[in-house]
Each structure stands twice: as structure tokens, then as C-alpha cells.
């Protein structure tokens, strides 16, 4: 197990994972604070969590509702 973990090229994988992770977290934090969304909130939770990468992007572009 440890050998397998150390075989993973972390310098390659880590930044990718970190950026994706932050994007998901930011989208979820914003979703929690925002008043209203286009479409049900719970739907956006699933989209952000499970549609990897494009989920959070879609949320920020079409999910947020201002005014």
C-alpha cells in the first residue's frame, strides 16, 4: 500500500486535485449562502459534487441568481 502510494507522482496529481477540490468547496460555500438559485438548490448540490469540473462551472454561470 505504502509503496503504491509513493509510486503515485504526487507533484503531478496534487495540484490538479487541490484546484478541483477548492472549486467544489467554493461552489458549495456560495450555494449555502446564496438566497436563490435557478432551479432547486439540492439539484445544484448534486451537480457540483458529481459532475466533476463542469459542475461547479455550470453552477457559477447559470445557477447563481442575483436580485
Amino acid at each position: 500500500m505504502m509503496e503504491e502510494l509513493s509510486a503515485v507522482p504526487w507533484a503531478v496529481i496534487a495540484p490538479l486535485l487541490v484546484v478541483q477540490f477548492i472549486l467544489v468547496i467554493v461552489a458549495l460555500v456560495d450555494l449555502r449562502k446564496i438566497h436563490a438559485t435557478n432551479g432547486p438548490k439540492i439539484l445544484w448540490v448534486f451537480i457540483i459534487l458529481f459532475v466533476s469540473l463542469f459542475g461547479p462551472i455550470a453552477y457559477f454561470i447559470v445557477g447563481r441568481k442575483q436580485s
Partner: protein
């Protein structure tokens, strides 16, 4: 000047509080990573997927760092700009349509200040975004392929930023002149349609704003014909200034469209 500062602060607050300064750069970073990574692991991916026909033999092209930066810029040109334009194309037209502009327009503000405050913020988000995107791309290229010469890399970055200033000017001009739907279509047609036209028949001319992103990479490759570069640069700056002036005029002219 103080009026410009007040409006600038308002625009920055909006961009900041709607996370634009965070999520758009992250998107650029992700797409900056994707090309160096997928190219490097292409063989592994193909093997893992398997099902290669018997005797199928592909030779991977020998890529240099500039190739990967160019591929990453290709991603910014499509998905990056799509995200950036979509996030800002309503910044004038939506404010008019939902009435938020009314309480500002009735005050003795200059539309030049208001337009410029929006322009500065869009360009700033763009600057942070391409900085994140370039950093991500260069980082992966560096650990997987090799290094860039720093001066030329910065020159390519600056060149791409000028192109981005051009994109911002068009986006906000469209937003000032039209309703959100038409503005979106207009900005997409000019930015992406222009890219397509330039890709298909662009060999017939050498001076064009749409060529700037590629010219930046050619600076790194050392294959750039400098007169073409400078003429394109000059044309882009002149055009974006003209777009800004028309944008301010359109914003003022359409002030009465603000919903009361």
C-alpha cells in the same frame, strides 16, 4: 476621479463577493493543466483503454514546451473565454433590465467612469485568470517536458493579456449596446467567429487581433516576424480604444432603457 473610485469599489465588491476572482482563475488553471498532462500520459491512457488493433503503432510527436503552452492557450481561447465572457456580458445590460442601474443612472455620474470601472474589473479578473492558467500550464510543462526562457514567456503572457483587453472591450461594448441575449450572441460571434475565420482563411493576412495569442507563442519559438507582431499589437490597441469609446456612448444612449 473620486466618482470613478466609488464605482470601481462597487464593481470590485461585486466580483469579489460573487467569487469571480476565485473560480474563473481556477477554471483557467485546470484547463492550463490539461494539455501538458494528457499529452504526457497519452501512451499510458491509450494502453489502459486498450483495444488497440493488432500492429497499430503510433509515434508520439516530439513536443517542445512551446507546443504545450500553445495547446493550453487553445483551451483558454475556447473554454476560458467562454467562461469569462459569459460572466461579464450582462454586467451592463442585466443591470439595466432588472432596474439596478436606475438608482445609479439618476445621479450625476459620468458614463465614462462607470464603463471604465467595469472594464477595469473584467480585465483584472482576466489578468488573474490567465496568470493562473499560464502558471498551471508552465508548471506541468516544466516538470514533464522542460523549461521556458523566462523573458519570452513573460512576453507571450503580456501579448495574451493585450488580446484579453480586446476581448473585454468587445464584451462590454456588446453589453452596453444590446440586451443580454443579443450581446452574448454578438460577443461570441466576434470572438469565436473571428477565431474560426482566422483559422480558415487567416493565411491571407498577417495583421489581426485574433492572431495575437499565437504570435505570443511564436515569440517563444523565435519564429515571429516582428513587423507583423507590432502591427497586430497596434491594431488591437487602436480597435479596443475605439470599442471603449463606442461602448461609453452606447451606455449613455441606452440609459433610458433602465427599468424604473
Amino acid at each position: 476621479m473620486s466618482e470613478f473610485n466609488v464605482l470601481l469599489q462597487k464593481e470590485f465588491r461585486e466580483a469579489w463577493r460573487s467569487w469571480k476572482f476565485l473560480w474563473i482563475p481556477l477554471v483557467f488553471a485546470l484547463f492550463g493543466m490539461s494539455d501538458p498532462l494528457t499529452n504526457y500520459y497519452m501512451m499510458d491512457i491509450l494502453n489502459a483503454v486498450g483495444n488497440l488493433p493488432e500492429g497499430f503503432d503510433i509515434t508520439m510527436p516530439n513536443l517542445v514546451p512551446a507546443d504545450l503552452l500553445q495547446a493550453s492557450i487553445g483551451q483558454f481561447q475556447l473554454i476560458g473565454l467562454l467562461v469569462l465572457i459569459a460572466s461579464f456580458v450582462g454586467s451592463i445590460s442585466k443591470e439595466r433590465a432588472n432596474g439596478m442601474a436606475t438608482l445609479l443612472y439618476i445621479r450625476p455620474i459620468s458614463f465614462a467612469s462607470y464603463f471604465m470601472s467595469k472594464y477595469v474589473v473584467m480585465s483584472a479578473v482576466g489578468l488573474v485568470s490567465i496568470a493562473a492558467g499560464f502558471t498551471a500550464s508552465v508548471y506541468y510543462t516544466f516538470i514533464l517536458y522542460g523549461k521556458f526562457e523566462v523573458t519570452m514567456l513573460l512576453a507571450a503572457f503580456a501579448t495574451y493579456f493585450v488580446w484579453l483587453l480586446f476581448v473585454s472591450a468587445i464584451t462590454l461594448l456588446m453589453s452596453a449596446a444590446f440586451k443580454t441575449g443579443v450581446a452574448t450572441a454578438g460577443a461570441f460571434i466576434i470572438i469565436f467567429g473571428g477565431q474560426i475565420v482566422d483559422a480558415i482563411v487567416g493565411v491571407f493576412w498577417t495583421v489581426s487581433p485574433w492572431k495575437l495569442p499565437v504570435y505570443g507563442v511564436q515569440l517563444i519559438r523565435g519564429t515571429m516576424e516582428m513587423p507583423d507582431y507590432w502591427w497586430s499589437m497596434a491594431l488591437t490597441v487602436v480597435l479596443l480604444l475605439i470599442f471603449i469609446v463606442i461602448g461609453i456612448y452606447a451606455m449613455k444612449k441606452n440609459a433610458a432603457m433602465a427599468k424604473i
